[in-house]
């Protein structure tokens, strides 16, 4: 009887269900719980990181934009005004228009248009491109890429950078890569 009293005082007496507190604690799977919690936390961090890769707002220039009426451009002129906003040069030659993407094909720097030397020149490793976009000096292995160019319904020229035309893949023969001038 004294023994039962002592057990009661220590909280180890058998409860109504048949297990006392010590047995319950001993049977609780701490290690399993810890691993489950750890895996869960890791998965949560991973999911949050993945979510972080897709921001709510992306400050990216539009891929498709209008650049003005065909008559706004002069023959032989390389328009550098769209470089900052859209990342293209628009070239107007005798026959029409094409849009060159302002990314060097060597390592992705932004070349400069040198009007006096009549070429695009990259300040990083010295690649040079003719007005057509053809690479002729420095290490760039292929010509500049052209963007899709077309005439919108309102008469303005529309450029779509999501469609790229690569010279070495024969893309410059595609009618979408060049907009003939028609007055």
């Amino acid at each position: 009887m004294a023994e039962a009293e002592a057990q009661k005082a220590a909280g180890t007496a058998p409860a109504a269900g048949g297990t006392n507190r010590r047995e319950f604690l001993a049977s609780f799977p701490f290690v399993t719980t810890a691993w489950v919690a750890f895996t869960g936390a890791l998965a949560g961090v991973g999911a949050a990181s993945l979510r972080f890769l897709y921001p709510n707002v992306l400050y990216e220039p539009p891929q498709q934009f209008k650049i003005g009426l065909p008559t706004d451009f002069q023959v032989g002129e390389v328009s550098t005004g769209f470089k900052d906003r859209f990342g293209v040069w628009v070239v107007r030659n005798e026959e029409g228009f094409y849009a060159l993407i302002t990314v060097c094909t060597h390592l992705g720097c932004t070349p400069n248009w040198l009007a006096t030397e009549n070429k695009f020149k990259c300040p990083c490793h010295g690649s040079g491109f003719y007005t057509s976009g053809i690479n002729f000096e420095g290490p760039a292995p292929r010509p500049l890429e052209r963007a899709a160019i077309s005439l919108a319904d309102d008469g303005q020229i529309s450029v779509d950078k999501s469609q790229k035309y690569l010279f070495e893949k024969g893309g410059w023969d595609d009618p979408n890569s060049f907009l003939p001038f028609s007055a």
Binding site: D84, C109, P111, N112, E117, H125
Partner: protein, 362 residues
């Protein structure tokens, strides 16, 4: 007179001449090592040569503009340190070579050099002193010469010229001559792996723990070729000789962004098909690049085989096939870099093999 001299110096710093001169000077340093280390006048001249060059050149206003840029000051200091420590190691090596020739042990093996010191307090004390001195130097430096901070980055506006941090200028220079996947990925990987592989490829115990040159001539020269010519010189070139539009400028030349350098790079295929054979370029890439591919196969497969029976016979016999293959290919990649640079500078060669269809260019 001075203008003439400056023009002459600008000519000397033309890349092909400057690279050749660097190779010649490094070779001469080791060839005439006795005079360079034992004649006091010659020794002082060699050690002081970078200081003299930068001091005298600083009177030229065009040089001064580039020299005083906060980015470039450490490069000038590095030139002095590299020359001094190369010379200093050579002096210790020559002293030891003399001792070994007399049948004595190298200086490092003398009993009085064998004495051991305690970490505490000897080592920790000098480390503390170094820490204090370097901290003072950095604080004073950063107060005197403010960091070259620029306006916020604009992806549409690349600074002209656009330079990598100084320790990457050598790689940036290599990028001018090679496709990015080679100069940006393969070659840096080979440099790191090659440096790590040195103890496995070179198991000769001579020179361990003491300075020597005569016992390890080709190994030391090979290493110094890679370090001084292909790294330090390229850092110097990228810092002081590359200007707007990544053109070459002499050290006393004004960095005119409109300097017109007529360069029309020619592929090997264009040389062979159009210029020598007089027929146009074949349209199919395998036919077009046939000669370049054969040349590269000869360079990377036939040449090591031939070298194994001639110049590198000793290494082939020491190393065995597997290690020799690794060694010879690391060596050939290293030598390909100056070969390609010379060909670009002299005949405007662009790529040996150029297959833009698969982004494969060598």
């Amino acid at each position: 007179m001075i203008e003439l001299l400056k023009g002459f110096m600008n000519g000397l710093f033309q890349p092909a001449i400057a690279l050749t001169l660097t190779i010649v000077l490094v070779s001469a340093l080791y060839k005439f090592r006795r005079v360079v280390t034992q004649n006091k006048l010659v020794a002082s001249l060699v050690v002081a040569s970078p200081l003299l060059f930068f001091f005298v050149s600083a009177f030229d206003e065009n040089f001064w503009i580039q020299f005083k840029r906060p980015d470039n000051i450490p490069i000038a200091a590095m030139m002095f340190l590299v020359v001094f420590f190369t010379w200093f190691a050579l002096k210790l090596a020559v002293d030891n070579d003399d001792r070994i020739r007399d049948g004595r042990p190298p200086k490092e093996a003398e009993p009085e050099e064998e004495e051991k010191v305690f970490v505490w307090p000897d080592l920790v004390y000098s480390e503390l002193l170094c820490l204090l001195l370097v901290s003072i130097l950095l604080v004073v430096w950063s107060i005197l010469i403010p960091a070259p901070l620029e306006e916020p980055a604009n992806p549409q506006l690349t600074p002209n010229p656009s330079k990598a941090p100084w320790y990457f200028l050598g790689l940036q220079e290599i990028l001018v001559y090679f496709d990015p996947w080679l100069a940006g990925v393969i070659i840096p990987t080979f440099i790191v792996i090659g440096l790590m592989a040195i103890p496995y490829l070179d198991t000769n115990p001579k020179g361990n723990g003491y300075y020597t040159f005569e016992e390890r001539r080709s190994e030391i020269f090979l290493f110094q070729f890679g370090f001084i010519v292909l790294w330090v010189f390229l850092v110097f070139e990228g810092t002081f000789l590359r200007g707007p539009n990544w053109n070459f400028y002499g050290p006393y030349e004004f960095w005119d962004p409109h300097k017109l350098v007529p360069l029309t790079n020619v592929q090997l295929s264009e040389f062979i098909w159009a210029r020598w054979l007089g027929i146009g370029l074949p349209s199919f890439w395998l036919v077009r690049e046939f000669f370049g591919i054969v040349l590269m196969l000869v360079y990377f497969i036939a040449l090591p085989v031939w070298l194994a029976s001639s110049f590198l016979r000793k290494y082939f016999e020491q190393m065995g096939l597997f290690r020799y293959v690794i060694f010879s290919h690391l060596l050939l990649w290293m030598v390909l870099i100056p070969i390609k640079m010379y060909l670009r500078w002299t005949v405007n060669l662009k790529y040996f093999v150029a297959i833009p269809e698969f982004l494969f260019n060598i």
